[in-house]
Amino acid sequence: MATIVVIPGSSVTGTVPIKVIPAGLSSSVGIILTTDSAGNTIAYQSAQKAFTSTAAVQNVAVPVTVPAAGGLFYVWVNVMLSGISIGAFAQGNTLMAQDVEVGEVIWS
């Protein structure tokens, strides 16, 4: 499972490859971040990004704001077709939101 390192509170884009058949369906995907692998605790949920299906793989870019609290987040993709929720599916990567600031060393 790949871990992507991001800055807490930053704006990033998650690109979702999805194939919906047939073409012409009103569809949307969103990204959910959870703090546990089972998806019990949602830390962030993006707006659904709408698209019209083409019956081929489409890369849908979803704006995501990384939780300012930082930490390790599990990634889920929420899929809807024709108003029907297909499900929120676990992805194979995680987000590690971390930021380190090192100050000047104080000597004594």
């Binding site: 979702v16 194939k19 899929v79 077709l81 108003g83 029907i84 929720s85 297909i86 499900g87």
Partner: protein
């Protein structure tokens, strides 16, 4: 002591998760005190009201010390004469959450008003179930949503966890809850090769009115509710 007492509730034991609202003071529209019990005895009385409407509820069974009394058309009740002490009291009526508590009753009249929470859905809310027959052979899953035609809002089945697939197998039923009883049922059959590769085999949009606690069967071979 012959004056009016206020029963002291010691605890709420039963119920379906709602909070019992116990009114421990007399107010306008409260139950009139009954005839005082004989010296050395006690009596419990009060009014039972609907928590949302504030109206008295008739026919609530009030059980204490094994004796049952029922509220009248105003929601008022008065128990038989009972010895002072700590007693369990139970309020129950179909369509309401049962409330059970222990009260400390003193000699004389003791007032205990009670609000019961209705178990019926609020007005305008429809909880209903959809199942299907004749799922197309090329499909392995189905899903549905109920759309409010005024707002365009879709209401999804409630009997699936937030995470994971929200689709159903042929023998499964979807439970929905909608704030409107007339709307558009969007129902589709799907073939899902993987989480991110979905084929919609067929989709139907059905204008329909539903009743609370209604159950509906959709036939994919005809595109109609059976």
């Amino acid at each position: 002591m012959k004056g009016k007492n206020v029963a002291k509730a010691a605890g709420i034991v039963a119920g379906l998760g709602g909070l019992a609202l116990i009114l421990l003071s007399r107010k306008a529209g409260a139950a009139p005190p009954p005839e005082p019990p004989p010296e050395g005895m006690a009596k419990l009385y009060g009014r039972v009201t609907d928590s949302s409407t504030g109206q008295g509820i008739a026919g609530v069974r009030v059980t204490t010390t094994g004796a049952i009394t029922e509220t009248d058309s105003s929601g008022d009740y008065a128990t038989i004469d009972i010895p002072p002490g700590s007693w369990g009291v139970r309020f129950e009526k179909d369509g309401y959450e049962t409330k059970e508590l222990t009260v400390s009753i003193e000699e004389g009249n003791n007032e205990l008003n009670m609000q019961l929470v209705s178990t019926a859905a609020p007005p305008g809310v429809a909880n209903f179930m959809v199942s299907i027959i004749n799922l197309p052979s090329e499909a392995n899953m189905w899903g549905c949503a109920f759309q409010d035609p005024t707002t365009g809002e879709y209401y999804q089945p409630t009997n699936r966890p937030i995470m994971g697939s929200h689709l159903f197998g042929a023998s499964e039923s979807a439970e929905l809850s909608s704030p409107v009883s007339s709307g558009i049922l969007s129902i589709s059959a799907f073939s899902q090769a993987s989480a991110m590769e979905v084929t919609q085999i067929v989709n139907y949009q059905i204008n329909m009115s539903v009743t609370n606690n209604g159950s509906y069967v959709f036939d994919f071979s005809t595109g109609k509710i059976v």
